[in-house]
């Protein structure tokens, strides 16, 4: 069987800002197609910067970064992104917000409208298609943002702490919703978070980043069966993964 | 042309009948600017227009309000108007500052600039102004000539408190006694104040030795040179109208109110127009009008005007007096001695008493 190329290849990537601050040093890892990988670490460890580099919004200082074997130089249509806050345009309806990527690429709206509505239905908010963002709760807005990121069927989904602005109960539910969507569409996912249990719950693999400058310090595969329900968080195996990740993070901080 | 009242009225009727005919031929468009709002002092222009005195001479005159004699000199000098009526002293000053203007005929030869006060203030003589508050409009001719008045009357300028304001505020400030007296133009101030049932004491600069001409018609010298017939027709129309208003004051008021609808409203307004017209007529009772015809200049007085302007109004390079006016167009309309007597009698209350 011919080897399937990796979805994401990151080789010794460094990033230094103009101010002289080195955010990332020698970051190296790969992500297989359809894999759900988390980048876990405390604030300031450069994980968001790494995501911006992957999104093509910032240039690398050195090293190489490839998505589907092509070098990353600018944003691309087959990559979708979800941010910490939903960043919905307040003057557009939910549906129009989801269709924004379609508009920006000047693709025909009608062809994608059905897909957009499908996504909204999968996320459970199809009734809100004609509403304006201010009428939605924080969790619902983030669901719209996720639909927007998925409307062009991206091969890679980048998520920058998408649930950190939500309350704990909503967070759990959103993680569940995300997994459900992911199971049906199976994009590759790079998921940034600072919540250990969240990382374990959603991922196939968790990479721990250590700060200043950011680099991958520790890695673990999460071999929990799928599909996962919220109750899995009470299992012994789950807690062992969570524990080892916590110890890894604490070890990095001491160093 | 000596006018008898009967001939004139008959002539007027004939003219009115002829007006539609004249209008059907093409008329030359002419623009005239007044020095201020169209109050009673400018009735002659509206009479000229309404009675067709310009139409019959082939002119279609548009009458615009003005914003002070200084502004009139500028806009007239720039060619925005063919003719203007303004203060001759201010005109002389502007000529000295580089504007090209020449006087065509006088309307109110006796200068109406002066100091005015409500009668109850008891300010009858120049000396009474010492220790009082006197208001002036910034940049007005009367303010510029205040030093001349001071010099000739010998009052102590330092003892007079002067207050400056915009021209629109002058009348109200006087009535509401925010000031004791003010510098203004007789024809612009008095009619409004009298119509409110108040009485004024009047000290005209001209009555106290300041040698300067008052309001008159003017144009650019170029227009006189290139279009003398136009000037003749325009001035003839004005002078004929002026004579008519001297002899038919009540009808003149009616015509004025008919043509300036903004003033139609109340009895008080009619009084204001009536007084304004009366003042204008009273200021025309000068020897040069009686002897040489309506509008005529006395060259010696022009010379004295020039000297006053150069001394007090700041212009240094005023051309010689004979360049400031022309008698080529004025003086064609005359009244009989009997008519002058009648006119003088009808406006005697408007002739300011000297204390």
């Amino acid at each position: 069987m011919a080897p399937v190329p990796d979805s994401v290849e990151i080789e010794r990537v460094c990033k230094t800002y103009a101010s002289g601050l080195q955010a990332l040093r020698d970051v190296t890892f790969r992500v297989a197609p359809g894999e759900f990988v988390s980048l876990l670490g405390p604030s300031g460890c450069g994980k968001s910067t790494l995501l911006l580099l992957l999104a093509g919004l910032l240039p690398v200082s050195s090293g190489s970064m490839r998505i589907d074997t092509t070098v990353v130089t600018a944003p691309r249509p087959d990559v979708g992104m979800v941010f910490q806050s939903a960043v919905l345009l307040p003057w557009r309806t939910v549906l129009d917000n989801v269709l924004l990527p379609v508009e920006l690429l000047r693709l025909p709206r009608r062809a994608h409208e059905e897909r957009a509505r499908e996504l909204l239905a999968m996320a459970g908010i199809e009734d809100f298609a004609a509403r304006l963002p201010h009428e939605l709760s924080g969790g619902m807005k983030q669901r719209v943002a996720i639909c927007r990121a998925l409307v062009l069927r991206p091969r890679l989904l980048l998520m920058d702490e998408p649930f950190s602005a939500l309350d704990a109960l909503t967070r759990d539910r959103m993680a569940l919703e995300l997994l459900r969507l992911w199971e049906r569409l199976r994009p590759t996912v790079v998921f940034v978070t600072h919540a250990i249990r969240e990382a374990v719950f959603v991922s196939d693999r968790v990479l721990v980043m250590s700060p200043r400058p950011g680099t991958i310090g520790f890695e673990t595969e999460v071999k929990l069966p799928r599909p996962r329900g919220l109750s899995i968080q009470e299992s012994e195996e789950f807690n062992r993964y969570a524990g080892s990740l916590r110890r890894a993070i604490e070890a990095e901080e001491v160093v | 042309m000596r006018l008898s009242r009967r001939t004139f009225l008959v002539g007027t009727a004939a003219t009115l009948a002829a007006v539609p005919a004249a209008r059907s031929q093409s008329l030359t468009a002419v623009r005239l600017t007044l020095p201020w709002i169209p109050h009673g002092g400018f009735t002659h222009h509206f009479v000229a227009k309404k009675l067709g005195l310009w139409d019959k001479r082939g002119l279609d005159v548009k009458i615009d309000r003005g914003f002070g004699s200084g502004e009139v000199c500028k806009t007239l000098g720039l060619g925005q108007y063919e003719f203007g009526e303004m203060d001759f002293g201010v005109m002389t000053n502007c000529v000295g500052k580089g504007l090209d203007l020449v006087g065509l005929g006088l309307i109110q030869p006796k200068a109406t600039m002066g100091i005015f006060a409500l009668a109850r203030k008891g300010i009858r003589r120049p000396a009474d102004l010492e220790g009082r508050k006197v208001g002036f409009a910034t940049g007005s001719g009367d303010f510029q000539l205040w030093p001349a008045f001071v010099k000739v009357t010998g009052i102590d300028d330092g003892k007079v408190q002067k207050v400056l304001m915009g021209p629109e505020a002058l009348i109200k400030s006087l009535i509401e006694e925010q000031i004791d007296a003010e510098g203004n133009f007789y024809g612009s101030l008095a009619p409004s104040v009298w119509a409110q049932g108040l009485d004024l004491t009047t000290m005209l600069y001209a009555d106290h030795g300041v040698q300067i001409y008052g309001l008159g018609l003017a144009t650019r010298p170029r227009v006189v040179k290139e279009q003398p017939e136009l000037c003749a027709k325009f001035v003839d129309g004005v002078m004929e109208a002026m004579a008519w208003t001297y002899l038919n004051p009540e009808q003149a008021i009616d015509i004025h109110l008919d043509m300036v609808k903004e003033f139609k409203g109340s009895v008080t307004n009619r009084e204001v127009i009536k007084h304004g017209q009366g003042v204008r007529t009273a200021m025309a009772l000068v020897p040069e009008f009686e002897k040489q015809g309506l509008g005529a200049f006395d060259p010696a007085m022009v010379q004295r005007t020039r000297e006053t302007v150069m001394t007090y109004m700041g212009a240094k390079d005023v051309p010689p007096a004979d360049r400031l006016f022309t008698n080529a167009f004025a003086g064609k309309t005359r009244l009989t001695t009997a008519q002058w007597a009648q006119v003088r009698d009808s406006v005697k209350r408007y002739i300011p008493a000297r204390a």
């Binding site: 944003p75 920006l104 | 201020w36 104040v193």
Partner: protein, 257 residues
């Protein structure tokens, strides 16, 4: 606008008018100084053809001046935002133009352009365009970085970001500027009419003042105020239609309705 929202302001206005009427009568104030509201109303009813005749040129000049200010101000703002050269060269001139008192400039405009419509329109433009420029610039540049980042991540070009994000974001602020601008346009045209017009409500006010016809003067002012309110209301109504989404309080400069 519901009836209940109108009752309070209407009530206060009615009360003020009653006090005014009573005070003039009781204190024996002369009509030339301050006429009674009933006298002013009588003049409005009696002489409405004259008032309308002068209101119309003022009205269309205000509208024209306002439209010019909005269009001109908007274009200027875009140039200021996107061209550093223009910003460095022109912005100081714009600010200086605001410091010069317009009443001083008016006679100059008359000398240069005559007492036709042009001088008044220029004067109104000079006064009314500035809030549009300022508010548009702030509106275009105050977009949260997150929106730009998001749009770029989804392949938005610079022009698309301008048209689809900066512009809609700026609309609430632009309308705030427009509300200020319409009142300034009214003031600008009317003040210009005091010193440079042959007709219009400002012209009528000066004429009435010259003859001490205070009732007519105040009737003209009343009619002018009504028109000004109506124009302002028009902008507010337009804003409700155009800015149909919820705008957080910090974004609306230029005051609430």
């Amino acid at each position: 606008m519901s009836l209940s929202r109108l009752t309070w302001p209407l009530g206060v206005t009615a009360g003020a008018l009653v006090v005014w009427e009573a005070a003039v009568a009781a204190l024996g104030i002369k009509a030339v100084v301050l006429p009674r509201p009933s006298a002013i109303a009588a003049v409005v009813l009696e002489r409405w053809p004259l008032l309308l005749e002068h209101l119309w040129p003022t009205f269309y000049q205000i509208l024209l001046g306002f439209v010019l200010s909005v269009v001109g101000g908007f274009v200027m703002a875009v140039l200021l935002v996107y061209s550093e050269r223009i910003r460095k060269g022109v912005l100081p001139l714009i600010v200086t133009s605001q410091i010069v008192p317009k009443v001083a400039v008016a006679p100059l405009l008359v000398v240069w352009f005559g007492t036709g419509d042009l001088s008044r329109l220029l004067l109104a433009f000079l006064i009314a365009f500035f809030p549009i420029v300022i508010n548009t610039v702030v509106g275009l540049t105050s977009v949260d970085d997150d929106y730009i980042k998001m749009a770029r991540a989804f392949m938005g070009t610079r022009w698309q970001i301008f048209a689809k994000i900066r512009l809609p974001h700026a609309l609430p602020l632009i309308f705030g500027g427009m509300k200020i601008s319409i009142t300034l346009a009214v003031i600008g045209i009317v003040v210009a009419e005091f010193v440079a017009a042959q007709r219009g409500i400002g012209y009528l006010i000066v004429m009435a003042n010259g003859l001490l016809d205070t009732p007519l003067m105040m009737a003209a002012i009343a009619v002018l105020s009504a028109m000004g309110l109506a124009l302002y209301g028009l902008v507010v109504a337009l804003e409700r239609i155009v800015v149909y989404w919820h705008v957080p309080a910090e974004t609306t400069a230029g005051g609430t309705p």
